[in-house]
Amino acid sequence: MRRMVTGGFPALLRKEVLRFWKVSFQTVAAPVLSAILFLVIFSHALARHVEAFPGVGYAQFLVPGLAMMSMLQNAFANASSSLIQSKITGNVVFILLAPLTPVDLFAAYLLAAIARAIVVGAGVILAVAWIVPLPFPNLLWLAAFAFAGAGILAALGIVAGIWAEKFDQLAAFQNFLVMPLTFLAGVFYSVDTLPPFWQAASHLNPFFYAIDGFRYAFFGQSDVPPWTSLAIASATLCALSWMTLRLLRSGYKLRH
């Protein structure tokens, strides 16, 4: 028998990607459909009233934000639901008994969640490209913000998945933290149009920078300079990653 010993990370990443890919109707097609519905409804309802950026129609403005919102929500959902399902069904034991390091675990769950986010985000943009004409984006900015934004939510998803013991605890995390922060991150409007208080509040929301920067990749216009957004989003990702790794190292709620 040919045996070659490497780390277990590639196998765990493969497992996590296969997990969502095998049910892609639910994990990819469904969020793409929701994003299209949002787009159709909001762009029809608001198109005549709003021009977010000069020269950018409302429907156009909406697409990158909706794509990013879907990416953020799906990155969170992937990491958190995979972990809590493994914990509740008990099959997390097979991962815990393997010689995987905390970094292996973190990287596999993070990257799989980012992968799902990118598939969903690409799906949203490609699905609406024939309804709403979009300029060809700057791919470097696009990739940087996709990675940072999805990474933040993936790390949060890992934390939530480790912490939650029941599905309703996870739902609370999702409904009271992730949903409000994504909706209030300037998906449907430019935060410059908000009253000063809400403008300031938006600037405290790290999700806002992911969405604003992602939009910059398409239009070259944004509420905040893109380097600032990238710095804040990256710093948030680093801080959350550090925290998540500490949690994994401690064995919190995984190893008793």
Binding site: M1, R2, P10, L12, N91, F94, P99, R255, H256
Partner: protein, 309 residues
């Protein structure tokens, strides 16, 4: 001497007020077939979990093939295959995918021939492409056995592997495990079927309330805590005085006469004949692990207040 397969020293673990492990020490040598017995809540599963890193002991040290399960956990886990007690599975995958992924977690590539052999030996070859959800309970358990063996660990721990497995498959499983043992793998098993432990295991540890209360070779334990007994039912009269010493009589009329060997059986029967007693029923009961177990668990030496997990 070779490094022990499993070496536990003064392992302690509390869950709140419960002392799941209360200073456990034991050594399993390489190549042994070792049984870990005890009532539910004795700490067997906690001990096994601590070996696998699922539970972190409060104090003490645990080593697998000389590797510390805490400081050197990656190497320790490569030496160890654990079949957990609860039947668990990942419903997203087929049997083959489950095994390939598990091999991958151990960093192994090119495990296909071994996976094929495991599927064959555990009578799962026909189900390789089936989703885990579609399997019966016994099949799922056999997949778990395969998962624990996929990295060919020198030490294999089975936590009640035969619960809910039918007789025929139980035999298949034990035959396979015996072969692995003959090939040099160390086997540690917990089971509630004491006759299985007696038939398979050369050494036994009995746990109660987080402590090891008996540890020794199966033969030694049987000799110390159980005895061969001649049981007779008589048509007339009672036992002659020469046999009455040490004998007991139960409600059904069986006389129970302790004997050490076949010669004593003969002389006991001779004495019965001499006394004129007519024997209507007769049997010789061999020492049984169950009796050892009941006696050891009945001794009141467990630490007071140690609750059950």
């Amino acid at each position: 001497m070779a490094v022990p397969a499993v070496e536990v020293r003064d392992a302690a673990k509390r869950f709140g007020a419960v002392r799941a492990l209360d200073g456990v020490s034991l050594t399993v040598e390489q190549g042994e077939f070792f049984a870990l017995l005890g009532p539910n809540g004795a700490g067997k599963t906690t001990l096994i979990s601590a070996l696998g890193g699922l539970v972190r002991p409060d104090s003490g040290s645990l080593r697998v093939m000389g590797r510390d399960v805490g400081a050197d956990y990656r190497d320790a886990r490569r030496q160890l295959g654990i079949v957990p007690q609860e039947v668990v599975f990942d419903p997203f995958f087929t049997v083959r995918e489950t095994l390939e992924l598990q091999a991958g977690y151990f960093g192994l590539r090119g495990s296909r021939p071994w996976i094929d052999e495991l599927l064959e030996r555990l009578a799962l070859a026909g189900k390789a492409g089936a989703n885990m959800r579609a399997l019966s309970g016994g099949m799922k358990r056999r997949v778990m056995v395969a998962q624990a063996l996929v990295h060919r660990p020198p030490v294999i721990v089975l936590d009640e592997p035969t619960a809910g497995v039918d007789v025929e498959l139980r035999q298949t499983l034990w035959q396979f495990i015996r072969e692995l043992n003959a090939a040099g793998h160390t086997i540690v098993l917990t089971t509630h079927y004491l006759e299985e432990a007696q038939a398979l295991c050369s050494r036994i540890a009995m746990m109660k309330a987080g402590r090891v209360v008996a540890l020794g070779s199966t033969e030694r334990l049987l000799a110390d805590f159980s005895e061969r007994v001649l049981r007779v039912k008589l048509e007339n009269g009672g036992l002659p005085p020469a046999l009455a010493d040490g004998a007991t009589r139960d409600a059904a009329g069986w006389h129970r006469i302790p004997v050490e060997n076949a010669a004593q059986v003969e002389s006991a029967l001779a004495r019965l004949r001499e006394s004129g007693a007519r024997v209507s029923h007769l049997e010789v009961a061999e020492p049984e692990l169950e009796e050892v177990f009941v006696r050891i668990m009945g001794r009141g030496d467990a630490p007071a207040g140690a609750a059950v997990r």
